[in-house]
Symmetry: C3
Subunit: 438 residues, 3 copies
Amino acid sequence: MSLQHWLGPIKDSGWQMYELSERLYPICRSITGDGVRETLKILQEYMPLEIEEIPSGTKVFDWTVPKEWNVREAWVKDAAGRKIIDFAKHNLHLLNYSIPIHQKMSLADLRPHLHSLPDQPTLIPYRTSYYQENWGFCLTHQQYEKLEEGTYEVFIDSSLTEGHLTFGTLLIPGKTEEEILLSTHICHPSLANDNLSGISILTQLAQFIQQGDRHYSYRFLFLPGTIGAISWLALHQDHLARIKGGWVTALLGDDGAFTYKRSRRGDTEIDRITEYVLATTGHAHQVIDFIPYGYDERQFCSPGINLAMGNLGRTPFGQFPEYHTSADNMDFIRPENLQQSFQLFCQMVAVLEGNRTYQNLAPYCEPQLGKRGLYSAIGGDNDRKERQMAMLWLLNLSDGQNSLLEIAQRSGLSFALLAEMADVLMEHQLLDLYPSSI
Amino acid sequence: MSLQHWLGPIKDSGWQMYELSERLYPICRSITGDGVRETLKILQEYMPLEIEEIPSGTKVFDWTVPKEWNVREAWVKDAAGRKIIDFAKHNLHLLNYSIPIHQKMSLADLRPHLHSLPDQPTLIPYRTSYYQENWGFCLTHQQYEKLEEGTYEVFIDSSLTEGHLTFGTLLIPGKTEEEILLSTHICHPSLANDNLSGISILTQLAQFIQQGDRHYSYRFLFLPGTIGAISWLALHQDHLARIKGGWVTALLGDDGAFTYKRSRRGDTEIDRITEYVLATTGHAHQVIDFIPYGYDERQFCSPGINLAMGNLGRTPFGQFPEYHTSADNMDFIRPENLQQSFQLFCQMVAVLEGNRTYQNLAPYCEPQLGKRGLYSAIGGDNDRKERQMAMLWLLNLSDGQNSLLEIAQRSGLSFALLAEMADVLMEHQLLDLYPSSI
Amino acid sequence: MSLQHWLGPIKDSGWQMYELSERLYPICRSITGDGVRETLKILQEYMPLEIEEIPSGTKVFDWTVPKEWNVREAWVKDAAGRKIIDFAKHNLHLLNYSIPIHQKMSLADLRPHLHSLPDQPTLIPYRTSYYQENWGFCLTHQQYEKLEEGTYEVFIDSSLTEGHLTFGTLLIPGKTEEEILLSTHICHPSLANDNLSGISILTQLAQFIQQGDRHYSYRFLFLPGTIGAISWLALHQDHLARIKGGWVTALLGDDGAFTYKRSRRGDTEIDRITEYVLATTGHAHQVIDFIPYGYDERQFCSPGINLAMGNLGRTPFGQFPEYHTSADNMDFIRPENLQQSFQLFCQMVAVLEGNRTYQNLAPYCEPQLGKRGLYSAIGGDNDRKERQMAMLWLLNLSDGQNSLLEIAQRSGLSFALLAEMADVLMEHQLLDLYPSSI
């Protein structure tokens, strides 16, 4: 195991992730369309992402891939011909997946198509209508309240046509074909935390993982929410048996504490590693049980799929006031937060990579460490004592039943020290990988 | 499932139960004899109870059905010929199962046969001597202390002869032959809480259950304590395999909090339902582990029988000062308390009836609820959101491993809402009963 | 079962144990040599201990029995020829296992061979160098600081030669060949708590156990630390299957609370008995999980051996300031403490001996205790009630799944009462030993 890469210091790339988010921010994404294609093409500059497309109308489990949506222009003009709402100024102004329309109408007829936030009067809300044909505009409540009676001209130059669902995948092969999934949604337009933060961090993480010797294979999924995950799962059913588990992630750039939502199974190695790393790094965090609502863990953890996929983020969706509004902008996320989130993923991957199970090759009584120079003779400093304790714990619990993680949790010693001392004991032929762990 | 009956509102019949108790109060019951027969005949006015009789001398496991006891008259006269203790005034005055006697004796010879309560000097105690031939009188300690030296005439016109043990049973058949037992003791004379309250409530509950479509069959047992339960079990050994479990109950009319004593097995569906209903209805209550002392759960939970029978009551026996005294009279129990206890049983039966296990028929990812009109399009009120969450939980956990109760406990949603939404999902062919739950 | 011996009062032998410790205190013990032999010979005066010897060079698992060490004289003289450090005055003055030397040297050359305690300047430390050839002296830091420049004469008349490893064992056979191990280390020179206290208590306990009728066989091991346990285990591998478990013990004479360190398996009958006795006797105590460091439980609980051996002592090693210094002398231990520790072992052995599993021979409903005179007729005092409850618990839980200990823990009744009532129920053919418990 090359400990240096996985357990060593992690370089600061907070600003790089921030800048990638900034670059992606203006693009109008949706669950289909050119905004997704443009986003994935930019990501290809950072990693050899494969872009896959599925035609509209394809059956994926209980769902059907919808028509592709694209939009060029959209506005509302008042009686005086002034554009009072304009998609060109902010792509949240348009109800995502709005059908085309060009029509004059009274304010009374327009009102049902307008969405604003009376409690947050300066913010534009984010609204979608993917699976029910509709059109609409979103605006600040301040704007809304200023609207006067009169005739309005509504224009939406969008198309909803047979096309494709687009997503990006990257497989980084490891020593085994057993796969770790890292999945995030890419369907949101100009919203920074939700989810340019997740996209940027997984992009950085893919680079980090590519640089190390890997035990596992890693598959990164950049998917439109819900339909993207369902499509990928429907097209890869034969593949699921080789998936060990992984993380759905999003909302990684805000100032809030981390939130880990356990997988449906609840006590998988993924769950235990995440909780261990959160606990031992000392970050403020909460751990909650699985609920069948949220991001794409809903699909990965549906009863027929039931993968060991948890969800890791910071403040949960809906629990910060900027959520799904124009205030989730580039001022809301911070490079330091992105970096801290990124490091957490690096540490989880490091524990995952290092979490082998060993067998003691001299299990009858303690082996004589002294004759191998592994034991301090008279006294000894604290550091040496910790290393000795690490060896004793490794020897005592390496009966094939305890992985390094379990030994770390039971002993209270650091995972990195145990991994290092396991290597030392292997060099002295006192420990070997347990067959199932090779 | 006909939810309306089981999960709907329950009519107030507190006064009816109180009046039945009042009617039964004066009768002198014992473990055998005409008092029991008369009691059961009155109950037959309310439900088609079967009255069964077992001859004295019948072997029932380690026991033998005792002789039948009846009493016509019993008194003690003082030297002046005045009746100073008279069974005709209160049937607790006579030691239950007293053998016949007619004799004059000194106060010194009489004293060992007198029972009073020095700490509760105005109350008559309730005493029995079923299995050891004896005679005696119970009186208030105030009376006892006024007794003067002199010759007393003691007269007990009772009979202890070959006869029968009598008890009442009612089977209300359901869709399956699997049976729920509801058992209470009927051997106490004029004691209201112990146990006319239990008798009245089970009578009302039998009527309630008869009115609904039943999944389970329900068997009501009105039994003389100990020997009645032992006899019934001994005569129905072949029958035990079809008993799912149930409740022994008594002491349901006082003002105290509920007490649930778990079955010997401790974590059966009966236990979980009882604890769930107690917790979610918000009644003050305590839950205690099984102990091999108390009412007939001692027999139902003996190691060779080991049925899933808990005991539900209010203040436990021996823990209220009126217990087994003349103060356990019709003033001690209240219609409101009877009604609340009755409702609790109705709710437990409702959860039992509704506690099916389902399987998700579209278990791969979430089914598309929207295309079935089951999902709100834009936004939605709280009620609609709860219904959506109920559907998501039902779909996610319906893998044959979780019953509705487990889904209710894990989700925090109400059992009734989940049951209702399970019906909706079944109508849409998204859920079906799991084979073992049909 | 002869309850009188195991569960009855235990005679006070605190002073006897103290006097044995006092007698053994001056002897210079090590892991080999005549000090060990002399110690074991003294113990033979108290019990029929077998003394066994293994030649130097014998391979025992990963270890080799070392050369035998003996010492006759050892001192350091200053330039004026005065003995400033003298083994004859205190055997801790010599680094245990020092090789022979006779040489003059400067203070600078001597210093690396001197050991003192700057934080405890009036105490002589205890130091060893068994597996790395070395020589040295231990002295108080006050002495150390007074040393002046000049030439010192160092003389150690020791021998490190082919010889033997010596240890003592005693097997007290019981009804079954299943063995309980009681092991303590005998390699420390003049240190009272560590471990003349352990030696004295196991000596007394052997006498106590010999006097009773035993279900189990008991094997006492008086072993040099580490190499003694490894040697014994290596030579008795075929024997391990018949060992039920037991206790490693030491440090039993100080004033501190008891400390029980669980076996590696953690929930064996040995662990449960120890924790039960500690909890119910009410002694101040702590229970800690197994760690692979400490006394010979390290060997008994190595993964290939994995016996149910816990460690029981008072204040743990290294956690009292007198530990491994000249202050661990006969003033540090007290007869009362020895007696209390001894009693605790007697009680644990009593529970172990009495912890049978029974089967109820009348498991269908309760047997009729009354007809056997086992049930009070009318009322009854508290003592009688406790005895009745004990019978009811025994009958209810004796289904082969619960031992007396489990019944005691679940019922809250005393183990001794339950054991007594189990005998009563056996006499009445209501209970019998469960086959696996005979």
